[in-house]
Amino acid sequence: MSLDLPDVVLQTVLLLLLAPLVSGCVKNWKAKLQNRRGPPVWQVYADLLKFFRKDVVISEHASWVFSCAPYVVFVAALLAGLLVPMATARAPLSLFGDVLALVGLLALGRFFLALGGLDPGSAFGGMGSSREMTIAAVAEPALMLAIFTVAIAAGSTDLSRIVQFAQSPDWKWFNPTHVMAFAALFIVLLAETGRIPVDNPATHLELTMIHEAMLLEYSGRYLALMKWGASIKQLVLMTLLVNIFFPVGLAAAGPRAVALGVLIYAAKLLALAAAVVIVETTNAKLRLFRVPDLLSAAFSLGTLALLSTFLFQ
């Protein structure tokens, strides 16, 4: 139970570098599916770099909260990422927090993101904050139920232990519990990362945007941190999904194993990204007040998953 500093650094770098790539892939593939050429997968890196170099314009109504928020959002997402096992079966900071801490950190980021949206006093920002917090509130029970299901099976909320349990022979691949919990978490993933049936990440259409509305007043390096933080958060949630439910190829130790683990992990991640792309392309955005219906379906799936844990012995 000691801190492994190289692990921490490695995973931090991996999180920082991989997150924009995943976002870029999703954007590119989505365009391809819609018969457009789309931006190259590296575009997100270029965007971030450009944002960093630009001057910052801050609203004159905004207070110190506005400038603090991007740092909190970014660091909270990064920290949450260090609590998840990515390529290896042990999360580098698993001593510091379990899956509940991860959910808490993501909520912390969201809290400050919403405050940042309110601070400049623009109606768009307020609207975005209001919707973001509402959707998060209805998504949270579904998320927790799905997590509980897995945690109860593993007897622990420690993500490393959950993943190790998933690798053990006790794990059943075709267990309906996992299928339903996965489906619930997938819906939550779509909601939390602002994907299409819930929010449209590509739009700046005033009345439908949620996440973009909160970022409207951000510019320069603040915008870069916000966008980067959002893509890290997306990566963290996707990692959670693939590594809890498909714990193949998580490396134990040794550089070769780790390298292989990274490759397998990337493959799983891209497969999940492809699933997200397909959902995004084949569905239309829901009206705001239909979103709770979707999330209540996720909640029911979570409940069913939980029921199944002790009824399908």
């Binding site: 059943k172 075709f174 309906p176 339903m180 219906d293 209540s296 799936l301 069913l304």
Partner: protein, 224 residues
């Protein structure tokens, strides 16, 4: 043929999984407002039913169950959805009107019904061999099907709900008693439903003609 005992566990897992997916589809059907999507969901649900029949047939070497599976695919995955689709196009409905309970409440009710189904099926869980615990899902399908039937007002959705009830009955039949249940009975159920749907289809059309609506709650206008 491999020895069933080795992979019987796999078979059991597959059956449980597919049964669970049938339940998930049923819940989606409860919240789905578009009739066409509803029909598609029903088709997928039937496909899983056929899959379960196939797995049961494979692990028991039961030829007659293969026939059931094939018939399910033909009748419920292909023919009935096609029939209903045509019906929908003919009378041009797209969306269900506001149901009795809104989606979250309906979900809550269905959750309760699922729990009830599990409780009712509990004493029997020790009895069956292969698809254990599918009885719970079968009962739940029947219960939620009934709930769906009175939650919706359009005749066509009610037909769809009836079909899911029937799927529940079939699931119970296939997964639990298929080894003893004569093929004839299954044929009987199957064709009963087929005929019922066709009659209902015609009725739906007539209701629409006479009332310019498919809202069955308008039938109370028939009172003198």
């Amino acid at each position: 043929m491999n020895a069933p005992s080795v992979s019987a566990d796999l078979g059991s897992q597959l059956i449980t999984l597919m049964a669970a997916l049938m339940l998930v589809l049923q819940l989606l059907l409860v919240v789905e407002n578009r009739v066409l999507t509803g029909i598609r969901l029903y088709a997928i649900q039937s496909l899983f039913l056929a899959g379960i029949a196939g797995v049961v047939a494979f692990f028991n070497n039961a030829v007659d169950v293969y026939i059931v599976a094939a018939l399910t695919v033909l009748g419920k995955v292909v023919f009935l959805p096609w029939l209903l689709n045509r019906q929908v196009r003919r009378i041009q409905i797209v969306q269900e009107i506001e149901p009795l309970f809104n989606a979250p409440t309906a979900m809550l009710v269905c959750g309760g019904l699922t729990l009830l189904g599990y409780i009712v099926a509990r004493p029997f869980t020790g009895l069956e061999r292969l698809g254990n615990n599918t009885l719970a899902i079968a009962i739940t399908l029947v219960l939620t099907g009934f709930f769906l039937m009175f939650n919706r007002r359009k005749a066509l959705t009610q037909v769809l709900a009836l079909l899911t009830v029937e799927n529940g009955v079939m699931l119970a039949a296939i997964a639990l008693t298929t080894y003893g249940m004569p093929l004839v009975v299954e044929f009987g159920i199957f064709f009963d439903v087929l005929v019922a749907v066709m009659i209902l289809g015609i009725l739906v059309y007539r209701i629409r003609e006479s009332f310019a609506s498919m809202d069955t709650s308008k039938l109370n206008q028939l009172k003198g």
